[in-house]
């Protein structure tokens, strides 16, 4: 079972606790989390299901390569990290 955790910067907007997943793609893993926490969806992906421009997802130590369909494959032991590029002032 994989593990997914979210940036602490999300926590001021809504609860986004660490979770586990069984899905075999990034999309499937995220959908499991969204099913349990529907509000979280619009913070991570836009209405077209694409990863938001300044949100990034790492699979262990590498960024996802498919930010549109989120088709990157996952293994049972993978860890997903969801965070954002801090910008602005």
């Amino acid at each position: 079972m994989g593990r997914i955790c979210f940036t602490a910067n999300l926590q001021r907007h809504l609860p986004a606790p660490e979770a586990s997943f069984t899905g075999r793609t990034v999309r499937a893993a995220l959908e499991e989390v969204f099913a349990a926490n529907p509000r979280l969806r619009s913070y991570i992906v836009d209405e077209q299901g694409r990863l938001r421009q300044h949100v990034n997802v790492f699979i262990n130590d590498r960024p996802v390569s498919d930010r549109v369909a989120l088709s990157d494959a996952l293994a049972d032991t993978d860890e997903l990290f969801v965070f954002q590029a801090l910008s602005g002032g």
Binding site: H13, Q48, V55, Q84
Partner: protein
């Protein structure tokens, strides 16, 4: 006159309240640290709406039913899911307005990219206005300042809320007589001298920065356009150009007197990419004769050089037409109690101000 002012800034939603001792800014703001792109107080039921642009985490919409004590997140306007490669996504809620008095719960939102959304249930659900999204002519729209065109002004005729006018940067001015079921382009007479000559008068490429109408006579409509100031006597179907006043005819904000159709206010700036007050001297222009002449007022505004720009939604006149507020991109906020002739600073230390409105 309204004793409460709401101020949407880059770092939160502030409240200014007029007490016996004068205006005071309340602290702390709601949504501290979060960019608030616009706000609405629905006069029909008192509900408050705050549109946020969280950047990383997208566009959000919140409503308060208890005067701002508590807020609840609502679904924000969004496009239907599509498999198209360049399927649209809402980047900004640029304006929020209530529907007519006879249709409680109806709200309209204008967004970037240039879409109009309608809610019939106080923001719980939103529907894209397909008629405007697909109207012939919109293929000529383009972004002005933002990557995509956007809808920043939505005017409803106070006597007939089915009569609508929307302003698009850059996409001209569009009118509906049937509550948004069908649309036709307005804005004949607007022109854009900066475009190729054969396109300068095309209504679909105009950049009206902001539209404002007189509530008592809504056919009198004022337009602060990228190319200057314009005035209409037929609710925006046709315009005539206003002779450029000193110091400038460029700007973003315009406010119309709610009762007197010949009175409106503008805040001029140096055109068009510089966007600071002419000679560093911030003034407010007021016309009381339908744009034939203007008076520049600066009492209470900075006496030393200033570089304040007033965004299109950051200028408001209250329902009595006497009290005004304006907020700048450098975080200055002023109020006037006498129709814009004298101004008093309420704060010089706010975040950049996107929008403000009297209750």
């Amino acid at each position: 006159m309204s004793d409460l002012l709401r101020i949407a800034t880059r770092k939160g939603l502030f409240i200014g309240r007029r007490l016996r001792s004068g205006w005071q800014l309340e602290a702390p703001p709601d949504f501290l640290g979060q960019p608030v792109s616009n706000l609405l107080r629905d006069p029909r039921d008192g509900a408050l709406y705050a549109a946020l642009n969280l950047g990383h985490f997208g566009v959000k919409l919140h409503r308060s039913d208890d005067g701002g004590t508590t807020w609840a997140e609502l679904p924000a306007p969004a496009f239907a899911k599509s498999e198209a490669k360049d399927a649209p996504s809402v980047q900004l809620i640029w304006t929020l307005v209530p529907g007519g008095a006879e249709e409680p719960g109806v709200l309209w939102a204008g967004t970037i990219p240039g879409a109009l959304f309608r809610s019939a249930d106080r923001g719980q659900t939103w529907q894209l206005n397909e008629a405007l999204w697909t109207v012939p002519g919109r293929e000529k729209w383009f972004g002005g300042g933002y990557d995509k065109p956007g809808i920043h002004s939505i005017l409803l005729d106070p006597c007939d809320s089915r009569a609508m006018t929307v302003g698009v940067s850059c996409g001209g001015l569009w009118k509906s007589a049937d509550g948004g079921a069908s649309w036709s382009v307005g804005g004949r007479g607007l022109f854009a001298a900066y475009m190729p000559p054969e396109m300068a008068e095309q209504p679909e490429i105009q950049d009206p920065h902001r539209l404002a109408h007189c509530g008592a006579r809504p056919e009198r409509l004022w337009c602060q356009h990228h190319n200057g100031m314009f005035i209409s006597d037929d609710a925006g179907r046709t315009f005539r150009s206003i002779e450029p006043p000193k110091p400038s005819a460029f700007g973003f904000a315009v406010a119309a007197h709610p009762e007197k159709p010949d009175t409106a206010w503008f805040v001029p700036a140096v055109k068009d990419e510089c966007r600071v007050p002419a000679d560093g001297h911030l003034v407010v222009l007021r016309s009381d004769d339908g744009g034939a002449s203007f008076t520049a007022f600066d009492r209470g505004l900075p006496s030393s050089r200033s570089y304040d720009l007033i965004y299109r939604h950051a200028f408001d006149v209250d329902r009595a037409g006497r009290r005004l507020a304006m907020g700048s991109t450098t975080g200055n906020l002023w109020l006037s109690e006498d129709g814009g002739e004298a101004w008093t600073p309420l704060s010089a230390h706010l975040p950049p101000i996107a929008a403000l409105a009297f209750d």
